[in-house]
């Protein structure tokens, strides 16, 4: 009796499910994206048109805008959550009192869904200014910082940066937990050795701790990156399906359900998958190599 057979049998239901419902449907989606089925309801199969949809979509203004929005959102969200998460972990690492209490508080937002976060922040980021202001703008008014009032997510240029704020709020606690584990994983002996060699406390971080955090940073980057590129629920909860905060995922929704154009929706979905793959595939390769080495 072969030793690997029971194991294989045990995982086979999950392999079959994933093969059909993840990779099978992924393939089906790519196939649909390469047809001219631009009508959802009519029962036409759609002819193969190659990459026509993939190139054609770039001439649409809305697509360019949504890609730009996704990039701004990703940069601000990933950067913000990494920096804030790292900073919180850095503070915690010093072994403050009631550390577990703080850790729990920072982690709490993780338990909230993006929809709930979005509903609350929609109110906080109300764009009215001056005497009609509510939410954060009102707060600025109370403390005499009226010049800080702005349009938030309705700002045509930097609106998506405002959209990233709730996402940062939600995810930075999780990133903190990742970094904290990373910090704790650095052996005290190494730090001691650095100190003995005359390294300043900052130098210890700069030359010893930070390089050892690289794997953690990479994981955090991938987790945040893939959340960011397919963001949908947060955007819909904050602003609905408005062009001003359009991202590829909301564009996909309107393409499929409002304009009834499955081929276009599938094209956008393909681009989202590809952009996430850009993050994930190198990581998998790197991970596999590392596994082999050790």
């Amino acid at each position: 009796m072969r030793r690997w057979l029971p194991g294989l049998l045990l995982v086979s239901p999950s392999i079959i499910l994933i093969a059909v419902f993840v990779y099978g449907l992924l393939g089906w989606n790519f196939k649909l994206a390469m047809t001219d089925k631009h009508d959802e309801i009519a029962e036409i199969p759609g002819n193969f048109v190659g990459l026509e949809n993939f190139t054609g979509i770039w001439s649409e203004e809305r697509w360019g805008l949504s890609v730009r929005h996704a990039i701004v959102f990703t940069l601000v969200f990933v950067g913000g959550a990494l920096v804030l998460g790292w900073f919180l972990a850095f503070l915690m690492e010093k072994g403050i009192r009631a550390e577990s209490g703080f850790r729990a508080v920072y982690l709490f937002p993780m338990a909230v869904s993006f929809i709930a976060t979005g509903v609350v922040w929609r109110w906080l980021m109300n764009s009215a200014t001056g005497e009609h202001a509510v939410g954060l703008n009102r707060l600025f008014h109370y403390v005499g910082l009226d010049f800080l009032q702005w349009q938030w997510f309705r700002d045509p240029d930097w609106g998506m940066a405002a959209m990233a704020i709730p996402a940062i709020w939600q995810m930075s606690g999780y990133i903190m937990a990742l970094f904290l584990a990373g910090f704790r994983g650095v052996p005290e002996e190494l730090r001691e050795a650095a100190r003995v060699d005359g390294c300043s406390e900052w130098g210890v971080y700069r030359h010893v701790v930070l390089p050892m955090l690289r794997p953690v940073t990479l994981s955090a980057l991938i987790i945040l990156g893939h959340i960011s590129l397919k963001v949908f629920d947060l955007v819909v909860a904050v602003s609905g399906k408005q062009i001003i905060t359009d991202v590829p995922a909301t564009f996909m929704w309107t393409a499929v359900y409002d304009s009834h154009d499955p081929a276009k929706g599938a094209t956008i979905a393909s681009y989202i998958v590809l952009s996430v793959a850009v993050f994930v595939v190198p990581y998998l390769i790197w991970d596999a190599r590392k596994g082999k080495r050790s």
């Binding site: 029971p6 239901p13 009508d39 009519a42 929609r122 764009s127 309705r154 602003s239 359900y257």
Partner: protein, 427 residues
């Protein structure tokens, strides 16, 4: 070893069983000769007012059809976004509900073209509905001589809501009659330090656009935009879009949706708001569902500028999908929806007027009596945002163009986008 094997087999068998269980099911429906047969009525009427109206119609249905059982398949979500997404997947799978709600007009065209709906001409003939619905309404919802839906109610889109005291403070003595007067008045309000025009999220701008187009172009030219040889590139449309730009420049900061925008008018922060007549219920109803304001005093209304004498309509209607599991039940429901009794039960609660000309006028008070009078006498034009004149694809293209215009304010580009939208609509 042996035990590990057994466990593995057991778990994988259990897994496969779960898999196959998903494929089964759905077999029991439709059976049973004795029990009342279900009629699945699919709508998005779940909010206050509309759900009450549906219930009133449902009671009439139950009384007239003891052998059918009404099954409420309502999907929550204003304007039916979620409901329509679910519906199209049901129709695609050829598992239609017995009857479903849709905006009367072009919104149904996709379904009609792909043969998902039955023509209702036989029902119109049987009930002599062509005599009780206005001729223009029948014309505007017919596709090649066939009618595919039964309108239950009529809403008006081109209504200008305003706050009389804000207008008085700004030195304006009445609702503006033309677009030019409107712009002058907006400017006066601005000088008086109030928000001239309140707006909501993106779709409320499409709603505003349809009123501005109608007011600038006039009824015939507006209606011609939706015919086969429509010309969206002419100078009159340019002028209308310039008006739209000027009017938007007086708008306050966009609110989350139409209610907060209407509330700015009720609270005296803003002077004007252009919104459909569902806003009346919000202004007027007691505080649980509305603002409890008094009409003609706290708020007032008029035809939106330049559109007096034209009724821009939209309508909720019911259809008969091909292959409805309970066709007779669906027809029985359509008969209730088309009847005077059904429409008079539904509409006062929903805050709309019946599509029939012979409604009991005493049931419709205040705004609704004005509405009913206009409906009887006005020329008709169809709404864009609410699915009358443009099919879904076209409407979405217009919505996108408005959203992009909101960012760059480029009229020439806006007009090009609208020309392209008309060309690519496939309508």
């Amino acid at each position: 070893m042996r035990r590990r094997w057994m466990a593995a087999v057991a778990v994988s068998v259990a897994g496969l069983l779960t898999l196959s269980a998903c494929g089964g099911g759905d077999k029991q429906e439709g059976g049973g000769g004795q029990a009342a047969k279900k009629v699945e009525v699919f709508s998005w009427w779940t909010g206050p007012g509309e759900a009450d109206g549906l219930k009133a119609m449902r009671e009439i249905f139950a009384k007239q059809n003891p052998n059918f059982e009404f099954f409420d398949a309502a999907v929550a979500g204003g304007s039916g976004d979620q409901a329509r997404a679910l519906l199209s997947s049901k129709l695609q799978a050829n598992q239609p509900p017995d009857t479903f709600q849709g905006h009367a007009g072009a919104e149904l065209q996709g379904y009609i073209k792909s043969g998902k709906l039955e023509s209702l001409n036989f029902l119109y003939d049987e009930l002599k509905l062509k005599e009780v619905f206005p001729q223009q309404l029948i014309d505007q919802i017919s596709v090649q001589g066939q009618v595919y839906s039964v309108p239950v109610n009529i809403h008006r889109s081109n209504v200008l809501w305003f706050n009389p005291s804000v207008l008085k403070d700004a030195g304006i003595d009445g609702a503006p009659k033309t677009i030019e007067e409107f712009i002058t008045d907006l400017d006066k309000v601005k000088k008086a330090g109030k928000i001239p025009l309140s707006i909501g999220s993106q779709w409320t701008l499409v709603h505003l656009l349809e009123s501005v187009l109608l007011g600038s172009l006039g009824t015939d030219a507006y209606n011609a935009l939706w015919t086969a040889n429509a010309d969206w590139s002419n100078a009159n449309v340019t002028k209308a879009l310039e008006n739209f730009k000027t009017i938007l420049s007086y708008a306050g900061s966009p609110q989350d949706d139409w209610q907060p925008a209407a509330k700015q008018v009720a609270d005296g922060e803003a002077a004007f708001n252009i919104m459909g007549d569902w806003a009346y219920g919000y202004f007027h109803n007691p505080p649980e569902g509305g603002l409890g304001k008094e009409s003609h005093k706290d708020f007032d209304w008029a035809a939106s500028p330049g559109t007096d004498g034209t009724f821009m309509w939209l309508s909720d209607s019911f259809t008969l999908p091909k292959g409805a599991p309970n066709r007779d039940g669906a027809i029985a429901w359509l008969k209730v929806a088309a009847s005077k009794e059904g429409q008079d039960a539904f509409n006062p609660l929903k805050g709309s007027i019946p599509a029939r000309k012979d409604a009991d006028q005493s049931l419709y008070k205040d705004y609704l009596s004005w509405d009913l009078e206009q409906w009887a006498n006005d020329k008709l034009a169809g709404s864009i945002q609410h699915g009358v004149v443009a099919n879904d694809q076209w409407r979405q293209a217009i919505t996108d163009a408005v959203g992009l215009f909101q960012q760059d304010n480029d009229v020439a580009k806006f007009q090009q986008a609208l020309v392209a939208a008309a060309k690519n609509s496939g309508q």
